[in-house]
């Protein structure tokens, strides 16, 4: 295997006094699409935020493109899609203005050239929002807003996409657009790490699933294929490796 794009070794992290990650090992190779699954509070989002440096790591090592995260500076190679709730300013902003802010990592001192403006337009076209470029983001639906945040991550043409619950609260039409956009990115060789509550329409894209529970990796391997009754919404995933009598992992749509 070539050098991993993301490598976590024995990572621990606390929020306040509560341990949220308790020795997480996670490797994502170039071109892989890895889904991070788990119940609410299992540490999925914290793991993602530890990778990007938003949550301080108390132990273990985080590496991006083979560089320790603390000395990693090449952020233009990383596209990040946060949970939708984090991006609400107190002043109106247009779709194009929001997406442009994702391009800063490719500019010198924030000076925009023609190529940068074209990149913004291209990113908006990828998510089917080019006709809304001049609209205020406040006027968008949840799904459209999510598409804008993904365009903001794609506008720097990253090699690695990190997404925190990109499908949460997104209408079906937007889910399909997002799945299509992601497929194009994966075909072009982009590495993807995404937090998901359920595999949903992204399932065919995912190479590997990592399931977290209580801050530990519970499963790392092929994604649990939904077959038969498992394909029904709201199923409980009982993992075969789990010791008898453990609580089933609820990866279902409605849990």
């Amino acid at each position: 295997m070539t050098e991993p794009v993301i490598a976590l070794r024995g990572v621990t992290a606390e929020l306040g006094a509560r341990p949220v990650l308790r020795g997480v090992d996670l490797t994502v190779g170039r071109g892989e699409v890895v889904a991070l699954l788990g119940a609410n509070g299992s540490g999925k989002s914290t793991a993602i935020r530890a990778i990007i440096g938003q949550v301080p790591v108390s132990g273990g090592a985080v590496e991006l493109f083979g560089t320790p995260r603390r000395s990693f500076r090449d952020w233009a190679r990383v596209g990040y899609v946060p949970q939708r709730t984090t991006a609400a300013g107190g002043v109106p902003a247009t779709v194009a203005e929001i997406v442009s802010s994702g391009r800063l990592s490719r500019t010198r001192f924030g000076v925009f050239r023609k190529a940068d403006r074209e990149a913004v337009h291209r990113a908006l076209e990828l998510v089917g929002m080019a006709d809304r470029a001049k609209d205020s983001v406040n006027a968008l639906s949840g799904g459209q807003h999510q598409r804008v945040l993904i365009a903001r991550a794609l506008v720097a043409e990253p090699e690695l996409l990190i997404m925190d619950e990109p499908m949460a609260g997104v209408d079906l039409a937007s889910q399909e657009v997002l799945a299509r956009t992601l497929r194009q990115q994966v075909e072009a060789g982009t590495t993807v790490l995404l937090v998901l509550h359920e595999l949903g329409p992204l399932e065919p894209l995912i190479d590997r699933a990592v399931v977290l529970r209580d801050g530990c990796v519970l499963h790392d391997g092929p994604p649990p294929r939904a077959v038969g009754q498992h394909a029904l919404p709201g199923h409980d995933h009982v993992h075969p490796h789990a010791p008898a009598g453990t609580e089933p992992i609820r990866t279902g749509l409605l849990t």
Binding site: I52, G89, A93, S101
Partner: protein, 300 residues
């Protein structure tokens, strides 16, 4: 236009124009990051600087700049580290700053709260030549930051977490915003007064939002409103012999009310146009069922 013949009015008008530009230019970032009242806090802290200036017989403007920059940096540090009771720490900083100012000015030889009044509410006749020089230099710095780094400041104020992943120096930019806000407070201090500065930072931005959908347009309208009210307030204050700060703030609020009234039909027309552009029977948001029904339960 006879007021233009007086040197003190020329100085006051120049200061008013600079205040009208800089206060909303910084304020828009504070509003965007939902720290609209930060300017007010800095204004309180700056009072200690004014008091110190009197006590040491140095320029109160430069002293206020130094102390409010220090206060703004302290506020930013509290925001980083003191997550739990940040509001209490800020309150102590605000009122400590105000009390410090009152105390120091009364300790100064011949000083009393009367000296403070012109700094609290603004005064035209007291804008000296050296004040104008200081205001010009400081306003230049504020414009350099707010215009030159507008894309970076926009990104950081919009979504700090995302800005960090684009490799922006988020902490440095936050500190710079705080310092710039502090500098703006002292720029505005002579004309609007420390207690009313924050209004000129926030209200023009709020008024501009009524008309615009984009950040850039909001910025331009807010600055236009800021300059208009600052200059017309200064002129009104000359003719009516009323304090300029209060006049400017009341005019700003009037502008806000007028633009809000104007924007309601505008927003309605926009909504109608948007509804006409959308095809009928558009899928509703969030097609995921809200609750788990009995039919969803599956036995394995």
């Amino acid at each position: 236009m006879d007021f233009l013949n007086y040197a003190f009015m020329q100085r006051a008008l120049l200061a008013a124009v600079l205040v009208g530009i800089t206060a909303p230019a910084v304020g828009i970032y504070l509003v965007q990051r939902r720290q609209a009242l930060m300017g007010d806090g800095i204004g309180h802290v700056a009072m200690t600087g004014v008091g110190l200036g009197f006590l040491l017989s140095t320029s109160p403007v430069w002293m206020a700049t130094a102390v409010s920059v220090l206060g703004a940096v302290l506020m930013e540090l509290i925001r980083w580290y003191g997550k739990t009771r940040g509001d209490i720490a800020l309150a102590m900083l605000f009122y400590g700053g105000m009390a410090g100012g009152v105390m120091l000015i009364n300790l100064a030889p011949g000083g009393s709260n009367a000296n403070l009044t012109s700094y609290l509410f603004g005064s035209l006749s007291t804008v000296s030549q050296s004040d104008v020089t200081a205001i010009c230099v400081l306003a230049g710095f504020v414009l350099l930051v707010t215009l030159g780094l507008r894309r970076q400041l926009f990104a950081v104020s919009q979504d700090e977490e995302f800005a960090r992943v684009t490799g922006l120096p988020v902490r440095a930019l936050n500190l710079l915003t705080a310092v710039t806000a502090a500098v703006t407070v002292t720029v505005a201090m002579r004309v609007v007064g420390l207690l009313l500065v924050s209004a000129l930072m926030v209200v023009p931005v709020a008024a501009a939002q009524q008309l615009s959908r984009s950040f850039t347009v909001t910025f331009v309208i807010a600055v236009a409103i800021g300059v208009t009210v600052a200059v017309s307030g200064t002129v009104t204050s000359y003719y009516q012999d009323v304090p300029p700060g209060a006049t400017i703030v009341l005019l700003t609020i009037a502008a806000f009310v007028a633009l809000t009234a104007l924007s309601t039909p505008l927003a309605r027309r926009r909504a109608r146009a948007a509804a006409a552009a959308q095809p009928a029977g558009d899928p509703a948001e969030c097609s995921i069922p809200a609750s788990r029904g009995a039919g969803d339960e599956v036995g394995v």
